[in-house]
Amino acid sequence: MALRFDENDVKKLEEIRAKYPNNQACTLPFLHYAQDKFGYVSMDVIKLVAQTLNLPVAHVLSVATFYTMYNKKPVGKYHLQVCTNISCSLLGARRLVDKLQELLGIKPGETTEDGMFTLTEVECLGSCGTAPVIQVNDKYFENLDEKKVEELIESLRKGELDV
């Protein structure tokens, strides 16, 4: 079935549209919105956004592929993004990545078979003073160590955290 935006989506998208002088400027916010709704930015999502904004598909595709935050393939329920840039690495980001690989049985770039977790290594998250940092969906978890990471995964598995 072809993807579509429902009435409520259209209302929200119109609110976004009102902030800009033209349709093209809505490309990033519409892609964000579509990713929230559909989980990831598939080719169908790209086509839908292009159609909604009356823009060439090639344009929306070029934007979707330029930026790292648009997921081109499905991600798990919890997307674990570990910062491995300098300040986080100085304080043990490597150990966190190793710990997560051990806990989840996957490598960076992969998703667990049950679709619960995706593990990604990312660049600086702008949170270096509270390093090391992991972003889980929209939330930051800071000042982490291996023990805290273990607890974090535990709570996520139990569905105790709102992220």
Binding site: Q24, Y67, M69, S87, S89, L91, C124, C128
Partner: protein
């Protein structure tokens, strides 16, 4: 005790609420601005010596004066991309004291005749964007945003725009392209944004911290700002300290505070009482310094004199347990990853630098690799559309030169010079 301007939440933790912000004298700068002519505001900002806090230290008043006079749509854009590794200061202004930024945006808009503002914030900071949006809604309700603000006849709308994960969008023309809904690839200058900016209209781009300095400059006058910090480097500065210190964090101090005081007093000294080995003073792109530089005043001109730069004021501290080869290979990886690919020297050069460094790090370095690195650096510098290529060179080249013996040791002995090193890879 130094003055607290940007971090008013240290005085009142609830200052993100508009009522409390007003109680602390908030929006008085805006009220005063409306009693002044727009040109007089620009003059006052010029006189204050406020210099951009986003990296380059360009005089803010001068930048504002480049905006054309007269009618026609103009834009004021706030750069809240905060992508430079080591930098985490703007997020605290926005999340804890958002009205300071909003007030600065309206004053800047009025001074430059811009009636629409965008705050371009990195996508990962969605939680910050929500706080900011709430503050914007409050400001609209109280009549500090929208039509005919405080009966001044001036209209100003302010929107938050989320990025989507690309460091190069922090570069102002990359940011403009991104705001227009395109890939964030930087533009060749000229034309400068003041002539041809976002949506083809005159635009000024300033950093969050820069803009947040403006309300107090207008309220208290330029002389007050000039009374803080060394000549031509005035005002307070947020130093963001990370890495091997006991008390990492953000500290608002007078511009020109010595590096030693920031690291050893405010940030609590080096973890485990270890020796300091290297310090990057202004975000990852600032040339690395050593312990002999601890008495340098942290300001634009003093750092320039020792061949580095203040950049974003983000201080990354590395103790004796850090392997410089690993640390700078990691940073090289970052630049290679973030190159937007438009310029051959940057695209190929950063990738090549990373490749050579990684092989040295992997104990497979070859004789001559160091000279090759320095040669490649020379071929990138100054030959690209935007300063990202230069930034990569300014990060890597001084590190390889300063710590050449460590890189050579890796190549010759196929092992690391540092015992008990902290693994980065």
């Amino acid at each position: 005790m130094s003055e607290i301007v940007l971090f008013k939440h240290l005085i009142d933790p609830e200052v993100r609420n508009i009522e409390n912000y007003i109680k602390l004298g908030g929006y008085e700068g805006l009220k005063k601005a409306f009693t002044m002519q727009p040109d007089d505001i620009i003059e006052e900002v010029k006189r204050s010596n406020l210099r951009g806090r986003g990296g380059a230290g360009f005089p803010t008043g001068l930048k504002w004066s480049f905006m054309p006079k007269g009618e026609g749509q103009k834009y004021f854009v706030c750069n809240a991309d905060e992508g430079e590794p080591g930098t985490f200061k703007d997020r605290y202004i926005m999340s804890e004291n958002p009205h300071q930024l909003i007030e600065g945006m309206v004053i800047g808009g009025y001074a430059m005749g811009a009636t629409v503002g965008y705050i371009y914030i990195r996508g990962e900071f969605e939680f910050v964007a929500k706080i900011l949006q709430k503050a914007i809604d409050e400001a609209y309700e109280k009549g500090f945003l929208g039509k005919n603000i405080l009966n001044s006849g001036f209209d100003f709308d302010l929107y938050v725009h989320l990025g989507a994960g690309a460091y190069v969008c922090g570069e102002e023309t990359g940011l403009i392209n991104s705001l227009e809904g395109k890939p964030g690839q930087p533009r060749l200058k000229p034309p400068f944004p003041a002539q041809y900016g976002v949506f083809g209209k005159p635009t000024t781009v300033n950093n969050v911290e820069t803009i947040a300095c403006v309300p107090d400059i207008i309220k208290k006058g330029a002389d007050w700002f000039l009374s803080i910090g060394p000549e031509k480097n005035n005002g307070t500065k947020i130093y963001a300290v990370s890495g091997h210190v006991n008390n990492p964090g953000v500290f608002e101090l007078p511009m020109g505070t010595p590096l030693r005081e920031i690291i050893y007093e405010h940030a609590g000294g080096i973890v485990g009482g270890k020796k300091l080995k290297a310090v990057i003073p202004g975000g990852s792109s600032a040339p690395v310094l050593g312990p002999e530089h601890l008495d340098i005043p942290m300001d634009f001109d003093s750092l320039k004199k020792v061949g580095s730069m203040l950049g974003s004021g983000a201080i990354i501290v590395m103790s004796e347990d850090t392997c410089m080869v690993e640390a700078f290979t990691r940073l090289a990886k970052f630049y290679a990853h973030e190159s937007c690919g438009q310029c051959t020297p940057c695209r190929e050069g950063t990738a090549w630098l990373y490749k050579i460094l990684k092989r040295i790090e992997d104990r497979e370095g070859k004789k001559g690799d160091i000279d090759l690195i320095l040669d490649i650096c020379g071929k990138i510098m100054g030959r690209t559309i935007c300063p990202l290529g230069d930034a990569a060179v300014m990060c890597i080249k001084p590190a390889v030169e300063r710590f050449r013996d460590e890189f050579e040791y890796h190549i010759e002995h196929k092992k690391c010079m540092v015992e008990n090193k902290i693994p980065i890879f």
